[in-house]
């Protein structure tokens, strides 16, 4: 890190918000550091002023609220994996956390950081999209909540204002009978970055789909929703062919993958279609 960087390390939420007064686009918030330290090391990001919030314990913890599960922004993947509450209310978030990096990364990587860095390859974010999570932002001026789908605005871009901090994430109470699925395709079987990642949450009554939210990562400049699936399938009792048509539609219309160091656009599109088809069949056609 260049010696020009200045770092403040507040111990309280109030102190963190004070430290962010007058913050600019160049002010960096450091949580677990699993993204930012790599950015510094590669020189892609130059550290200017850094607010290190790692020791702000008010941002930790997982608790049940009437509206759902409240997850503090500093909650790590390790804490998600160990949480009975998370397992009960946000099962696929736990599965996703389990597939992030290595044990050492999981011990530092936070849910707020995974959302806040807005990497298109983030593993937790598609789950938050599929579960209709909300993000709560706080600053000296007050607090506001917005859907995670609105929080991400572009490649590594979010709706967070420079003086704001991600305080927590709310995963709404599970709808009765909601089924969920998650699938990550990486460059190897563990400790890898996604080539394609999908999360799906679906409710059905007597075989008729009522709601279906699906999200994908690594297939566009940011995590995206796959609206074609709900459009094609809601209100229907689809068979395998209908699921395949919907998956095909999502893979052609909803995403914009690229060739990069990890994979090809073609692979991402074709595989998105294939894993969606299989995941939907598992959730809806009672296949094991």
């Amino acid at each position: 890190m260049s010696p020009a960087a200045t770092v403040s390390s507040p111990r309280t939420l109030a102190g963190a918000l004070d430290a962010l007064v007058g913050a600019t686009e160049a002010t960096l918030i450091l949580a677990g550091g699993t993204d930012l330290m790599v950015e510094f090391q590669t020189g892609r990001t130059r550290p200017g002023h850094v607010v290190d919030v790692w020791r702000v314990d008010e941002l930790r913890g997982i608790r049940a609220e009437p509206a759902g599960l409240r997850i503090g922004a500093l909650t790590t993947c390790t804490e998600l994996r160990a949480s009975a509450l998370a397992q009960e209310h946000a099962d696929i978030l736990v599965i996703a956390a389990d597939e992030v990096g290595a044990e050492q990364i999981q011990a530092r990587a936070t849910i707020g950081g995974n959302l806040g860095t807005a990497s298109p390859a983030a593993d937790l974010t598609p789950v938050l999209f599929a579960l209709e999570a909300e993000v709560r932002l706080v600053s000296k001026a007050g607090a506001r909540s917005l859907p995670v789908t609105e929080f991400l605005t572009g490649y590594r871009k979010t709706a967070r204002r420079p003086e704001e901090l991600i305080e927590s994430i709310l995963v709404p109470t599970r709808a009765p009978g909601e089924r969920r699925g998650f699938r990550k395709v990486g460059t190897r079987r563990a400790q890898s970055i996604s080539k394609v990642v999908v999360a799906v949450a679906v409710t059905a009554l007597d075989g008729v789909i009522r709601t279906l939210r699906a999200s994908a990562g690594s297939v566009a400049e940011r995590t995206i929703l796959l609206p074609s699936l709900e459009r094609e399938l809601a209100g229907k009792a689809p068979d395998a062919a209908a699921l395949d048509r919907a998956a095909r539609r999502a893979a052609t219309a909803d995403c914009a993958p690229i060739d990069d160091v990890r994979s090809t656009a073609r692979y991402r599109r074709e595989v998105l279609r294939r894993i969606l088809r299989t995941l939907l069949a598992e959730l809806l056609l009672d296949e094991t």
């Binding site: 563990a190 095909r248 160091v261 073609r266 894993i275």
Partner: protein, 738 residues
Amino acid sequence: MERTVGTDIRRPEGPDKVSGRAVFVADLATPGAWFGGTVRSDVPRGELLGVDLDPAFDWDRVRLAGPAEVPGANVVAMINEDMPVLAEREVRHVGQPLLLVAAPDAETLGAALAAARPRIAPLPAVLDMEDAPDVLHEILIEKGDAPSALARAARIIEGTYRTDTQEQMYIEPQGVIAWPPDASGCTVVRGSMQCPFYVHKSLVTMLGTRADAVRVIQVETGGGFGGKEDYPSVLACHAVLLARAAGVPVRMIYDRHEDLAVTPKRHPSRVRHRTSVADDGTLLAMDIDVLLDGGAYTTLSPVVLSRACIHAAGAYRCDHVRIRGRVVRTDHVPYGAFRGFGAPQVCFAVERQMDRIAGALALHPAELRRKNMLRVGDTTATGQRLETSVGSVEVMERVLARSRFDRHAWRSAGVAREPHDSQGARKRTGVGFSFFFHGAGFTGSGEELLKARVRVELDQGGRAVVETASTEFGQGTIAMFTALAADALGAAPEDIRIAAADTSRVPNSGPTVASRTCMVVGGCVMKACAELRARMSAASGDESGPFADRARAFLAGGGDGLAEVVYASPPGLVWDEEHYRGDAYPAYGWAADVAEVEVDLDTFEVRVTRFLSTVDVGKAIQPQLVEGQIEGGSLQAIGFAHLEVVTTEGGRFLQDRMATCIIPGTLDTPPIEVELVEVPFPHGPAGAKGVGELPMDGGAPAVASAIEDALGIHVDHIPATPERLLDAWLRAHPEEAL
């Protein structure tokens, strides 16, 4: 009498390594040392006009070294002297060193490197080996008359096979520390390396000095896999130039990114086979064309090509063979040594070709190999008659007995599979096989030219000190030499000490490469120990009591406690270097592998679920270490087959960080079931041959064969990534494409 050989002793260097006390080059305390760095080309080819130094930086804070500071020849002396230590005008590859910078701390060094901007007029680059006009080296092997045999053949089976490059990914990145000349004018370098005398030679040439004015010392080395055979010479030249410029020791220790971006990797290959085969599967004629991408400079490419060509026809008997090999110059980062040294590429090709022949003739792949495998009395492609230590039949039959592969209905591409649909099974399984050999030691007359020397000396404490230039870099040289010396002396492992590889102290036993350390150097160690033992025995006539007591008494009685041995090749070996005829190697290791895979039909991810390897090493001096070599080599081969992707764009490696340069992790590692066969080599120590490279050769074709069995598509280009398999699958099943 064998007491230690064949048992597993505790590795003498092991406790320091597992407890973290071992001192690697980055751990060496060097008070007052500066940090060295390199200004590099960012284009594959061009004319260097100069390096602009930003006046905003205070250049008095650092020291620079350019080509003008090279006291002797501006070349890194290897096989040919075509690679400059620092480019003068001609730039030949991305990352080529142009100017060196030393600074008192890492931050200043970083700032200086950022403030030095090369001005290069780009020139058109040659980045496709098929188009490369400049041939670095050519080899022709002819046995019988393959062109005529093919001209009258009733059936010719053709195949073209490709392998991409592969990164060694040694555990510890490259690093050396150089000191400015001492009062006697001697330049000292310590570093992570396989071959201290290679580094010594290149420094003597670059400095234009005497051999005794350079001293190279290997320190604890965290893996090499061939990657620390040639590159430490480059790095040492750089560090020495900077130490001279700065007048203080200079540390040049790459981080992983720099290491991945600029150090040599495995040669990419394209191999064409044309094979004439009888109806019963007998090989009648083989015509093989081998093309390797050498990168920008010669480095070790002629020797890599040599090993590739000698192994190109595989471990098979055929009367008419023609092998034409070329390694061409491109504007890629120079390719270099990696475990197997050309053989894994050609082994992939010939083993896939054997599967292709089996498919065309509807013969079982195991049956085809049985029919054609080399046995005692057969001759290889170079005309070498195999007389002894040929474990071919044993390794093949034993691996088949364990795996029952010969009863598995292996299906070549094009054979119909069970129907599948979106509601069917989303996974397919397959099994594949390979059979292969690997020459141990230097090729042909290499050992005769080198004349490896080894010394064993009794010290005042009564211990036998083994002095060689053969290095330990994780593979077990120390334990292996300890066991050989202990048995040859009639001593215990505690009575043996293996001297550090310091060019000012040890004789030149040659580089630690080519599966030669045990068979060649180990043999010399045993001979020297046997000579000492004979002297001690003649002096006292008594071999009872602790060895150290007897050794001290022998020295006290005026006995000569120093024995030196020069390697002598086994009698009767004949090699014609000009025509590539004769005894290419003193002995061959033999092996057969079986791989079982599961392929996901949604993602085309390959999981190797089981891997069996049966290997004839002559004699396992340290069985656990030998099994470790086979497990590790097999895993590198599995990674080569389907997982390890290194691609280039504009001459630059795209996967230049560990986050993107993927190697197998624990979950990608199948159970590897190793079985050792010992068909002793009479001229090897305790019957041993080589083992280092052999297990790298067969894994990739076995995995590719299993994928073909699972999916029914040809797997002729590795790594067989999910992207490549999906493309091939959709070509075969266009109705499934979006």
